[in-house]
Symmetry: C2
Subunit: 227 residues, 2 copies
DNA sequence: CTCAGCAAGTTATTATTTTCACAAAATATC
DNA sequence: GATATTTTGTGAAAATAATAACTTGCTGAG
């Protein structure tokens, strides 16, 4: 096993594998082969083996993988054995919905604080979580030991918020603003751009092959101009 | 220009280009070169040209692209000149937050109906949008001309909901349940898996190179066993 | 009208990612 | 204990994707 750069595509799949293993474990399975996993969850067995092999030799030839053991390994690799504390910037609809998103709750992420610029909102609570003044981000983040930030503000404020967050030493953040943010230095950003996803669906519904089953040559009209 | 399969990565970028162009247009620019776009928004100029060239010859050599013209083309290509009507399945926190997500509102997507299995919720409204019985999905979808579905239910119900939706003839859907759904037939699914994104951040924070600056060889401990 | 400069469109190259295929290792069988 | 079977781990091949390099065409100055 060589130490090389692990692709994000690989680590994303580790999450998927872990969920598959949890599912299998819940049904009482003890071991599983890469092929068994692949068949059951529509994955590719070689890819599973390769992804896992980046991190160690977890399987047993002729047997497969011991589910509980592999779950522990993946949990460790993904850092899911550690608690993370999340600060959500933007206490609008989305920020509030994320605050008690069950995905946070059932994982190792705890939403520790909300931030907003609106003085009306500051001091209010969403469930257990208080809304703080965005101006106090750095100190509040320190006080509440926040290590993950979520940007849930309109696009025009996103870059300023990014500055603020990275300035406060936060290394990991998730951006819901419809503008791709780029990291500055050793910071990890996950852009969750719902606009792109929606427009991708729109494209699918609009594309010629979906309208009449015929594939149209888009340049046909244009090339006819000079005829 | 050949008719070939357009990669989703390409269409995703078209969304980004369109936003960049909107930004430029708002600042009064009339034309832009692929290089100008690339520099300003941290993109690759060759990729921009290539992506656009799949759909036609929109630029003028020696000049660049006429911004307004290209915006119109991209709007057309992405189907953003047509209205889409969205049905959201799952009237929990997330479903409700999405119901008045500004991204829907400011685009060509209108949330037409919510669906839930909880009889307590059925008949209530979120803003203007009524919550219907999930059992009535097919007929309600027809009645409200829904062509895009959003799955915002817990993972264990997601596959049943998928069946229901595709059975009703819906061709495009966005899945927020933390389980990757695979299309059956000619249906487009966009999986928005927040769990994967979170765990990716967790991995980043946990990985050895982030702890002490040293790259550890994970198999070191293991290979030492037989020494 | 000609020519220099610019920038699109396109071909070629490189990099990345996925899939295939097989040797090595473990287990089960006789 | 030898052998057939299973399944990993991994190099090689194929498929995708991104980048760079080149060619063509348009514009505007002189």
């Amino acid at each position: 096993m060589k130490v090389e750069k692990i692709s994000e595509l690989t680590t994303n799949r580790l999450s998927v594998y872990l969920r598959c293993l949890n599912d299998l474990a819940a049904h009482g399975a003890k071991t599983v082969s890469s092929d068994g996993l692949a068949k059951k969850f529509h994955l590719n067995s070689a890819q599973i083996r390769k992804d896992l092999a980046y991190f160690g030799e977890f399987g047993v030839r002729g047997v497969g993988y011991y589910i509980d053991e592999l779950r522990k390994h993946l949990t460790k690799i993904l850092g899911l054995d550690k608690q993370h504390r999340v600060g959500i910037i933007g206490a609008g609809r989305l920020g509030m919905a994320l605050t008690d998103y069950y995905g946070f709750a059932q994982s190792n992420f705890t939403v520790a604080a909300l931030f907003d610029a609106d003085t009306e909102k500051i001091g209010q609570k969403v469930g257990e979580v208080e809304i703080f003044d965005i101006k106090s981000f750095a100190e509040t983040a320190r006080k509440y030991k926040i290590d993950v930030a979520v940007i849930a503000v309109p696009a025009e404020f996103a870059e300023d918020v990014l500055e603020l967050i990275t300035g406060a030493g936060i290394k990991a953040l998730m951006n819901f603003a419809p503008i791709p943010l780029r990291p500055h230095g050793d910071v990890k950003i996950k852009n969750v751009d719902l606009t792109i996803s929606l427009e991708s669906l729109s494209y699918f519904l609009a594309k010629p092959s979906n309208k009449n089953g015929k594939i149209l040559k888009p340049s046909a009209a244009k090339s006819r101009i000079k005829e």
